[in-house]
Symmetry: C2
Amino acid sequence: MNRESLKESVRSQMPAARWQHTLGVVETSIRLAARYGADPDKAELAAILHDCCKSWPVDRQAAVIREHALSEDVLQYDKELWHAIAGAWVAEKEYGVNDPEVLDAIRYHTTGRAGMTLLEKVVCLADYIEPGRDFPAVNNIRELAEHSLEKALVAGFDSTIHFLLDRGKKIYPLTVLTRNALLFELESAGGTMREP
Amino acid sequence: MNRESLKESVRSQMPAARWQHTLGVVETSIRLAARYGADPDKAELAAILHDCCKSWPVDRQAAVIREHALSEDVLQYDKELWHAIAGAWVAEKEYGVNDPEVLDAIRYHTTGRAGMTLLEKVVCLADYIEPGRDFPAVNNIRELAEHSLEKALVAGFDSTIHFLLDRGKKIYPLTVLTRNALLFELESAGGTMREP
């Protein structure tokens, strides 16, 4: 499937506002990839597909996770997390993406993971800061993104964890492991990792 | 060692303010134990010993953890966490405590764990709310403690996680697993667990 047909197919499965968000993540992923030295083509492909099943009914997302035994523990946590894991499966099986780096960038775009690749960091951060995003910490995260992928991602996960605490929601353990891993990376690099 | 000699020995290893805090945790643990049906004698013993090595030099705390291979991962996290794990070892080996419930209440008084016992909840919560404590959320936690051990503990861990986020510190994974486990307990009990 060429890039335009792929975009058309993904667009057809979501409301206009979600597609607008996707285009924002595409644009920001390409920009961050260029800035930090990730592959812009892989960044674009992962960004197009990152929310490919986010607008599906959550039961259908859960069914994909359950039927294919994909990180089923996530089903005990916030529904907002499910589409990333289901989406990586859809990207592979329904869109024929076979690049594991791209699939992992889709799979981990919401939670991250310990040992994130550069591409995973780019797409995850782009999802926090694309131009359509508007939440209290977003301008701070955008500013940090000019200087350090890792510092910006820590600030992104901080905002997610604050959001969950304020609403009495459970915190998906991987989110905290990811934030800790980024802080360990920053410590061992003396606070200066992934400057452009 | 009788209770008075034990208190005298623990007192001698800490500054007056830390001993004052310990007496507050003893008093509050006994009160919470009576209210929620835990063993008041075990609660008192765990409370007397909960900070038994908190005033030791941190290198000595770390040495206990390293030499006896006790949850060594904790050494990558905040030093404030070390005394609980080292303290359980000291309580057993130096004070001859052999009741595993009491030792676990000391070991998990700072982080909690998934599946906390009633005694562990009592001592952990008492440590948050003893009369000498003064931090922004403490009155809210004290109020919740009148109605639900689990809700009060969730609020306690919320305050700890906020504190760590605000300072850019790593979050010990067990802290989040404990908070999630308490929320799962509250969900399955319909929000009404451990009311007195």
